[in-house]
């Protein structure tokens, strides 16, 4: 029972991070039917900047805010110069190549600026030794903090989308950008905002993961984005709740497979799950079947 709880809680926590990444991917998919394939590099850049600034004596809060500020500028650049031009061509997949390209360039720049070795990342929210005992199991406060933060972000996002004018405008853009533009919704701003929010979520995810692992390097983030993508598809592309649920399901399954079947199989499990979902329920757990009238 103790093993089960340990695996379950670790899975929920790791899954919550996948969920955050998935929500970021969902945001841009919602507004433009595109995804930032350089999301892993955004995670890496934010974490490396934070680690570097803290090492130079900045306060943690200021370092995180500054790193997130850089991410905002980066996402404005990405949307303006790599995604928008590609979207002008009907049916073009140029955005996939260009966002991936930005990610690769970021990796190179990070290696140039920060060095290519792994940087030590300090404890930001609690340390590895902070824990509480739940049903006789030591539960890391770092894991709980990750879960609480992920849930808070999902709730905040849902409130934003359902309860504010900007949220309604965002939904309108996701349904029909041309019609939204005709009725005066600032589509350009909404799309830009979705990229910025997506980048900020990736940045926060990067910081959360880096503090758990303890190090960050320019190659950081790539694999996590793959699991985030699995979470997004599993939950249903476009669904915030689905993204979090998908992330947690993927995280928990990964831990259970690793803990009870084989640790060597835990990564492959995620892709097996992806294939299964695409076959059985292509719209994902919380997604809606897309109906196109012709």
């Amino acid at each position: 029972m103790e093993d089960f709880l340990t695996l379950l809680l670790a899975g929920i926590s790791v899954g919550a991070i996948y969920g955050l990444i998935a929500i970021g991917l969902n945001l841009t998919f919602w507004t433009t039917k595109t995804m930032n394939f350089g999301q892993g590099s955004v995670m890496m850049l934010c974490a490396m900047l934070t680690a570097t600034l803290i090492a130079r004596g900045w306060s943690q809060a200021l370092a995180i805010l500054a790193a997130l500020g850089v991410v905002v500028v980066l996402m404005v650049f990405t949307e303006t110069y790599t995604v928008r031009p590609a979207l002008k061509i009907e049916g073009s997949m140029g955005w996939a190549v260009s966002t991936l390209g930005v990610g690769i360039v970021l990796q190179g720049l990070a290696a140039l600026w920060f060095g290519s070795q792994a940087l030590a990342f300090p404890d930001v929210i609690f340390s590895a030794i902070d824990d509480v005992v739940v049903f006789g199991v030591h539960v890391s406060l770092q894991y709980i903090a990750v879960l609480v933060l992920a849930l808070a972000l999902v709730v905040a996002f849902e409130l934003l989308v359902r309860g504010t004018v900007w949220g309604r405008a965002m939904r309108a853009v996701s349904m029909d950008a041309d019609l939204a533009s005709v009725i005066g919704i600032p589509v350009r701003m909404i799309v830009l905002g979705s990229y910025i929010a997506s980048g900020v979520l990736a940045g926060i995810s990067g910081i959360l993961v880096a503090q758990i692992g303890g190090t960050v390097d320019p190659a950081f983030g790539f694999e996590l984005v793959i699991f985030g993508f699995v979470a997004a598809v599993l939950g249903g592309m476009g669904s915030t709740t689905g993204a979090l649920a998908g992330g947690i399901v993927a995280g928990v399954l990964q831990q259970m497979v690793g803990g009870y079947i084989s640790s060597a199989a835990q990564h492959g499990m995620a892709f097996g799950l992806l294939i299964l979902i695409l076959v059985v329920r292509p719209q994902g757990l919380f997604g809606q079947r897309e109906i196109v009238k012709v």
Binding site: D3, G11, L119, A128, I212, P218, V257, G259
Partner: protein, 406 residues
């Protein structure tokens, strides 16, 4: 005095002839002995590649400062970056092997990249020094005790040597042992050899053997399996950055059993990432480089390193004595270059067959990590006696590796 055209031509011709007589000697003197290598100069494990590059450079400076080999200076003609990625190592080594001016090779950092290129190097036939890869099949394709590859020599701690050392310690102290290794050639063979060594010493031992992928951010599943098996100690065969993740994961799970690591696990990113959580971690490392007072050849190496690079992250936190991990990151490259240069000197040529014959006759060459001796049947030098046990402890407020009895 007026020069006629005939006088001018005659004088010019005489000068040209005189110059041409002297020229070949000067050209030969200036012609460098070229070496080449591919290694992890960047990437998350670049402490190994950067380290051995520095070791080779320091050795070359020492050799060239003393007049070179046969009057010729040594030069790094090709130095390529593979980030410890085997595919890139193959591409890089192909380029290096295509350069026929290169007479001395160094294998990449890490067993994965080295295993990917070692057959190419063997087929090529030029002498190759292996500073860091630990998998025995790099040197002995049929396994330890079999015939070595004719042109490859290792300066690293072979997995079988380290496994025997660690198995001897673990099997005597514990009956239920958790064994975790990275899924690379280094980790896999290291883990298997430690397990075999433990079982050889204690047939009743219960070994729970798990693996992980380099750069995994969570090891809960593997550690839970260790807990379920009631392991009394955990031995990890892996590298520093991953060690930090494992140590933090153990602490989060309130897993208090002793942690033992392979030599690679003591590389700088471990202490940097885990901080004081690394205290108490034990493992094997080179003995000689961190022994006080240092032997003259070690002191010369350390002084040269300090003068060029200072007491940086590869050196460690004690300004007087380096971290023993420098034996694997820097000194193995340094020793490799010095031993190869010594072979060229004894052979009187850089021609491959003669160099290999001289390498096979290396005896009592005193290096930083050990005294080197190679024969046609023995192409490794580091033995169990060249290792000792270390533990992360706090000394004068600084965290450092100190020699300990396990």
């Amino acid at each position: 005095m007026v020069f006629s055209r005939r006088d001018f031509l005659a004088t010019s011709g005489a000068i040209a002839v005189a110059a041409s007589v002297g020229m070949p000697r000067r050209a030969r003197a200036a012609e460098t002995i070229k070496v080449g290598f591919t290694t992890a100069l960047t990437g998350p494990f670049n402490e190994f590649g950067e380290g051995y590059k520095r070791g080779i450079e320091l050795a070359i400076e020492k050799i060239n400062g003393a007049g070179g080999v046969m009057g010729r200076p040594i030069e790094i003609a090709m130095m390529l970056d593979d980030q410890l990625i085997p595919d890139r190592s193959v591409q890089n080594m192909r380029r290096i092997l295509d350069n026929k001016d290169i007479v001395g090779l160094f294998c990449p950092s890490g067993s994965g990249p080295t295993l990917a290129v070692i057959d190419m190097i063997t087929a090529d036939g030029r002498p190759a020094m292996n500073p860091q890869a630990q998998t025995p099949t790099v040197i002995y394709p049929g396994g330890p005790g079999t015939k070595p590859r004719p042109n490859v020599y290792t300066f690293s701690i072979q997995n079988d040597i380290e496994a025997n050392f660690m198995a001897g310690i673990l099997a005597k102290k514990f009956t239920r042992i958790g064994l975790l290794n990275e899924s690379t050639g280094y980790g896999k063979t290291g883990g298997e050899l430690v397990q075999a060594g433990i079982m050889r010493i204690n047939k009743d031992a219960v070994v729970t053997h798990e693996s992980y992928n380099q750069k995994d951010q969570d090891m809960t599943a593997q550690l839970v399996r260790m807990q379920r098996a009631r392991s009394e100690a955990l031995m990890v065969v892996g590298l520093g950055a991953d060690m930090a993740v494992i140590r933090k994961n153990m602490v989060r799970m309130n897993m208090t059993i002793p942690l033992y690591v392979s030599a690679g696990g003591f590389s700088p990113p471990y202490a940097e990432g885990a901080g004081e959580l690394a205290l108490g971690t034990k493992g094997s490392q080179f003995r000689k480089i961190a022994t006080k007072p240092p032997a003259p050849e070690v002191a010369a190496f350390l002084n040269a390193y300090k003068a060029k690079h200072g007491t940086d992250r590869l050196w460690g936190s004690d300004p007087e004595i380096p971290s023993p991990s420098m034996g694997g990151t820097v000194a193995s490259g340094y020793d490799g270059m010095l031993v190869m240069a010594d072979a060229w000197r004894r052979a009187g040529t850089t021609e491959a067959a003669a160099t290999i014959k001289a390498m096979d006759a290396t005896k009592g060459f005193v290096g930083v990590n050990c005294s080197y001796e190679f024969t046609p049947d023995k192409h490794h030098a580091i033995e169990v006696d060249d290792l000792t046990t270390y533990e992360y402890a706090k000394v004068d407020g600084r965290m450092m590796l100190v020699q300990t009895s396990l």
